[in-house]
């Protein structure tokens, strides 16, 4: 406020737009970015009833004697106790239709090791009878 001039200076259109449109818009954009950015790479959460269109995955535990010191080349069928195989478990092996064939013994060595999940190393095995089976079923 000047020294008692008593004269108000008008604002032109550009200043009006800047103050009343551009600044609120900028604030909204910044808040929207802060809100949406952290969730951009998050996978959609599973909700009961929605379709499941992922390929089947079969996980198995690490074999007890493998040690777990990174990817090791596999020899023969993995996870045979006492045979000294070094195939790492925790296998993610999407089920391949061709692998349903019998005991092929192809231990595909892990190609991608990221510290958490080692590549699959287990081939399909011959079907063996396991006696009377037990278990339970649940639906939700």
């Amino acid at each position: 406020m000047g020294a008692g001039t008593g004269k108000l200076s008008g604002v032109n259109v550009a200043e009006t737009i800047l103050v009343f449109a551009a600044i609120p818009l900028a604030i909204v954009v910044v808040l929207a970015l802060l809100t949406l950015k952290p969730g951009a790479d998050r996978r959609p959460r599973y909700k009961p009833g929605q379709a499941w269109d992922h390929a089947p995955v079969w996980y198995e535990p690490h074999p007890a004697h493998a040690g777990g010191h990174g990817p090791v080349a596999a020899h023969g069928p993995a996870a045979v106790p006492g045979s000294g195989t070094a195939a790492l478990g925790s296998s993610m092996y999407p089920e391949q239709p061709g692998e349903r064939a019998l005991d092929s013994g192809t231990g595909a060595g892990p190609a991608v090791g990221d510290g958490h999940v080692h590549g699959g190393a287990t081939a399909a095995r011959a079907i063996q009878p396991a006696g009377p089976l037990g278990g339970a079923r649940g639906t939700w």
Partner: protein, 152 residues
């Protein structure tokens, strides 16, 4: 953030072989790496503590789901008698637990049903990984620790 290795595919896959590792989908397509680590630890620790072979199948099951789960169980390890398969089909909203004859002696059907019940209550609230981990914990607690098993 951990990402899978980005590598060029020197594709040697043929009609007779499976797809190359680099051609398969992202490793964390279904679960995040954090969730995979939880699953991995739960599977490995319950298998080591009990001496049973726990495996986990997540995906579509052919109907009748029980038959498909039993077929999977027959292929689930070197000794299917001592293995336990947990087959979860989120699309069909079915979970099947299959125990071999040896495993069933230590994991009676009643214990499996209890574990399945706790799994389904988590699943119905949308928590797949938490339900699986809790179910594995219940199953391994029930199966106990056999005498003479060296875990370390």
């Amino acid at each position: 953030m951990t990402r899978p290795l980005e590598v060029d595919s020197h594709d040697t896959a043929t009609n007779q072989t499976a797809a190359a590792r680099t051609d398969e989908g992202r490793l964390d397509e279904v679960f995040s790496f954090r969730e995979l680590a939880r699953l991995d630890e739960a599977l490995t620790m319950s298998s080591r503590e009990t001496g049973l072979h726990f495996t986990l199948y997540v995906g579509e099951l052919r109907t009748p789901t029980r038959t498909h789960a039993e077929e999977l169980h027959a292929r689930s390890g070197a000794h299917p008698t001592d293995s336990v398969l947990i087959a979860v089909s989120p699309g069909q909203r079915v979970v099947e637990v299959v125990t071999g004859a040896g495993a069933a002696r230590r994991l009676p059907d009643r214990a499996c049903a209890l574990a399945v019940l706790s799994m389904t209550s988590s699943f119905s609230s949308g928590d797949l990984v938490g339900g699986i981990v809790n179910g594995l914990r219940q199953l391994s607690d029930q199966a106990g620790h056999p005498a003479g098993l060296r875990t370390h």
